[in-house]
Structure formats: C-alpha cells, structure tokens
Subunit: 134 residues, 2 copies
C-alpha cells in the first residue's frame, strides 16, 4: 500500500549552488548527500515538515495555469514556501539577485499574500512564497 | 523568515480525474477544494506528512538526469511515494492502466527498491514508488 509522499525531486545543473540555495536561501535542513551509482545520480536530501499537494486547474478556461497546460499538457508546476514576513523575504532575496514576478504580493489561495520567484533564478523551479492572513 | 515548505503544485488538465488519482490511486487525504478567482485557478489540497526535497544531479556526466538537464536546464523532476509492498502496488496500478517504466523494481537511493510510473499515465508527472530495504 502507498503509505506516504517520500520526496519531491528537483534536477539541478549546479549541485553545490543548488545545495546552498535550498539550505541558505530557503532555510531547509540538509540531511546529507549520496551518490546513487545505479541511477548515475548525485543526490542531496533536505527535511521538510508536513505539507500539501495542491492540484491546480484553470478557472473559466484562462489564466496562467491554462498557458502552462497548453505548453506542457500538465505536470509539476511550483513549490510554495510559507514565510512569516513576505516583504522582508522579498527584500532579502532580491538583494541576493533573485528575480520576483511582481513588485508587491498578490492574493492567493486561502486569502494569503503570495509572490513568485522566476524559475530562471532557481534552477528552473517556479517558487512561490506565501504569508497567511492574520 | 521562510518557515516551511507549504505545498507542491501540480497543473492538471482534468481536475476531477486528477483528484480521483491522488485520492484513490495514490492514497492521499483530500482536504478540500477552492476557486482562487484572483489567479483564475481551481485548487484541490491534499495533506502530506513530513517528507524530503531531493536535489538530483548527474553522476559522471551521464544518465537520465543529464538528459533532463540537456532538455530543460533544470526543474521539478518527480514525486516519490513510499510503499510497504512495491510489487503489490505495481500490479494494482498496472491493472488500473498505469504504464510503468520497468517490469521489475531497481535499486534507488538508500538501497531502496524503486519503480517509476510514466508521466503520460499521471498528468505529465513522473511518479516514483519506493520500498525501503528491511
């Protein structure tokens, strides 16, 4: 029986730079690295606490998700990290050279404030930051 | 400060079919759905327990991850679910019409047994099943 989600894998062109990004910039705990010869792959594992899988589908046949589906037909779309101060994290990441998709947060699911980091700034991964409404 | 991974988003062409897949075929708990008008998006949230982010990079400059990087330059690669009986789940999912990438499990990270489900069977998402070694 399938018992749990084990991991989300991200393919990265620069292993050391990506480890630094997920540990230092996104604040995750690096558990360790392992070479998997059978898969010709280097791996690095980071612990993440309980989270969610979110399925997303266009509302009324338009919007950015429709554009993604038109191009790719479906697939893994983004990672979302929670923050307790979205404006401070936006400023911190901008100062590190990250490109944000908007100058100010917008409203996302559950009425939260959200902002997206451009995939070109993060190994091709679209990253969302979210701050819950108080 | 970034405090935690909140969710992994999957763009899906058929909302109802994808909800059924993640709930019935992959065994996750559906928490609810929400329309996010500001993003022109329908969303469905599933709870997942603590998991990991795995960065993957080619070992010795070859293998399937190198192929992915050559094509995409990096990005979200796959979801992995743990199972306590990989052979039973392979048979169950094959009977439901899922296409598996190998007839028998192979050896993955941590010495586990792994098998992959073809993205064409799952909304464009490459899905790995893993069974830990005893």
């Amino acid at each position: 029986m399938i018992t749990r989600l084990d991991h989300i894998a991200v393919a990265v062109p620069d292993f050391a730079a990506a480890i630094a990004r997920f540990r230092d910039d996104l604040g995750l705990e690096l558990e360790g690295t392992e070479d998997v010869a059978a898969a010709q792959t280097q791996t690095a594992f980071f612990a993440v606490a309980a989270a969610h899988i979110e399925l997303i589908h266009p509302l009324d046949g338009g919007g950015p998700v429709q554009g993604f589906l038109d191009k790719r037909g479906g697939g893994l779309h983004h990672l979302c990290f929670e923050t307790d101060d979205i404006l401070a994290d936006m400023a911190r990441l901008k100062a590190k050279g990250y490109r944000l998709l908007s100058e100010a947060p917008t409203v996302g699911a559950h009425g939260s404030l959200v902002v997206f980091i451009h995939p070109k700034s993060a190994d091709g991964v679209l990253i969302e930051l979210t701050q819950r409404s108080a």
